[in-house]
Structure formats: C-alpha cells, structure tokens
Point group: C2
Chain length 209, copies 2
C-alpha cells in the first residue's frame, strides 16, 4: 500500500503482470497458467513480458518472493498492533490471532489461496532455488511463531506437554488447510473460524479455558 503511486511505468507493468499471474496460478497451478493468457489480460505483447522476466521460472520466483514479502509485512503489522494492545506475551498473541482471523475473514471473495501451498503441489516444476524459497518460508514462519510461544511458555505453565515447534507449525497448518477448505467448500468463513480454533487451543493450553 506504500509506494503505489511512486512506481515507474515499467514497475507498474511488472506489478500488473505479477497480479494477473498470481490470480491465474492460484486457480490453475503454475503449469496450467500460460504466458499467452497473462499478456492478453495485461494488454502487452509476448516480448513485453520477456523484457520484465527472463523466462517462466523467473516469473515463478518473482511471484513467490513478492508473496512472501507481503505476507510478512501483514504479519508484522498485526504483531505490532497486538503488542501495542497488550504487553503480556500470551494476550498479545491471542489478540494477534483474533486480528489475523478478522483480516482473513474480511477478504471480499474469500482468501484467494496460498501461493506457497500451490507451489508445494508443483514442486517438480520449479528450479531448486524456488523450492528452497518455499521451504525457507515455512521455516521462517515456524521460527517467528515459535519466538512468541517461547515468551508465553516462560511466563505461563502449560496444562499439557507441548512441543512448541509443533505448536508454531500448527498455525501454518491450520491456515493452509483452512484456505483449502474455504476454497473447496466455497465457504469464506471457514478459514477465520479455523484460526479462531487454533486460538482456542493456545488458550486452553496456557490458560485452561
């Protein structure tokens, strides 16, 4: 949302290509999305596309990089917002989860899908560096959620034995799985309700209610 207006003409076209491509990839998979349809929708020629990306794999990489970046800026903003509302690590995390659920529920036509999940189910289509980006993405999510859980566990005794890495992973799992369910069932609300259930789990583990 920052520098939308400050983009040069070329950067604007590039962003437009990425927007169109992401939408298509989330519905047809990477292999099912042709450059022809992208350029048709973008209103440029084939060569115009190759001015911005050296080949299709390069598009895949740029697409994923942008997705991971924006994903993180969303999480960062929500964490920051939550931290401002409570200094307690548990309550801050619970607030974050509530905000996260709200954001995911407020998308007009439901969540469009997780590009990382889509890529995982097409891993053999991508070069090694792209595959490593999806792996690294999940590792970062684990680490960052885990940090929060560490701080919680330092202050609150847990009602049951828990592995904090698994608990951190569970948020990714519930979100990825919730998106799939939402899309498949055409019930946009499913995703945010799943996140709220993860929240209930965290509450039960550390507060017992």
């Amino acid at each position: 949302m920052a520098n939308v207006q400050t983009l040069s003409k070329g950067e604007q076209t590039r962003e437009r290509i990425l927007d169109i491509a992401q939408d298509a990839v989330l519905h047809k998979g990477f292999a099912g999305t042709s450059l022809d349809e992208i350029i048709a929708e973008a209103g440029i020629t084939k060569s115009g596309f190759f001015y911005h990306f050296k080949d299709k794999n390069d598009l895949a990489k740029a697409l994923l990089q942008r997705y991971l970046d924006t994903e993180w800026s969303v999480f960062d903003a929500l964490f920051k917002q939550a931290d401002e509302l409570s200094e307690d690590p548990l309550h801050s995390f619970l607030i974050f989860l509530k905000l996260f659920a709200e954001v995911m529920g407020d998308l007009p036509n439901g969540h469009p899908g997780c590009l990382v999940s889509s890529y995982v189910y097409s891993d053999h289509m991508f070069s090694r560096d792209v595959r490593e980006m999806t792996t690294e993405g999940h590792r970062i999510w684990r680490r960052r959620f885990r940090e929060r859980l560490d701080r919680i566990a330092a202050r609150y005794p847990s009602r049951i034995e828990v592995n904090l890495d698994d608990m951190a992973d569970m948020l990714s799992a519930v979100a990825d799985g919730g998106i799939i369910l939402s899309k498949s069932l055409s019930e946009p609300g499913v995703l945010s309700r799943q996140i709220m259930q993860y929240r209930a789990f965290v509450r039960l583990v550390f507060l017992g209610n």
Copy 2:
C-alpha cells in the same frame, strides 16, 4: 489390498496408469503432468491410454474417484479398529486419531500428498463434475467426523464453547496443512505430530487435560 490378484489384464494396466499419474500429479500438478510421460513410464502407447480413458479430464476424474474411495476405506478401517478397542465415543475417537497419526507417520518417504488439495489449487482446469467431487469429499469428511463429535458432546460437557462443524473441519485442515508442511520442509514426522496436536485439542476440550 483386496483384489490385487483378481484384476484382468486391462484393469491392471488401468491401475498402473492411475498409480503413475497420481504420483506425477502430486509433484507437478495436473496441467504439468503430460500423457507422454505417463505412457512412457507405463510402457504403453498413446492410443493404449485412450483405450482406458476418453480424455485427460476423464483421467482426472478416475484419479480423484479412486483417491476418495481408498481414503475412505482407510478411515473406515481405523474407525472400526478404534471402536473395537473402546465403546466410549471420546476414547474411541482419541484412539482413532492415534492410529491415524501412526499410519500417516509410517509411510516410507513421507505422505505423498493429498490429491484433493492439489485439485483445489487447479480448480479451473477441471470440469464442473470434478470440482463438485472435491467439494463433496470435504463435505463427507465434515459429516463423518461431526457424527463422532456429536456422540462425544452428548456424553461429555465441553470446557469451552465449540462449534462441532468447525471442530470436524479442523481435522481436515490440520491434515491437509500438515501434509503441505511435511512436503515443504521434507520432515515426514510433521504430519503425524500435527494430528496428535489436534488430538490434544479434542482432549482438552472434552476432558480438560
């Protein structure tokens, strides 16, 4: 595992095609899987393929139908096993989840992936009837898990307010998401540990520990 030996020659070839196709689709997506590579691995010709399937969408349909059928026979077997070990609905469900986690953890190279999830991220590639099959698959899972939860809720008070549909969906979400994480991180154990965490959640809700 039943009638492996009683298949006719044609049925054997058909199953072989489906095995090869499923493996490829889970790694490259449906569009990224060519008939050429399938027939090469199956050791037949293009026309041999079209003797068994009228077109590529027909293959997609047969693939998904077989996947849903075997998936259900696995769940049915595990539910039956669990029911034999306990008559109490909660304990039976907890046993089922333990068995489920074990089965998912015992796969030699990790879980190969969920065909339904893969299809959801390529929904625009398929005819309407195939898309409806994935939706119906998720609906059936919800209904069947929900039946179990209804019986539990009838006997056990829940520690917190829960929506049983959401709780039923959460098993699908955690499983689908867990598979994605396992694949992406190349950590086969993640999936079964996620299922065990869902189990811990159910326990906390109905037993409080």
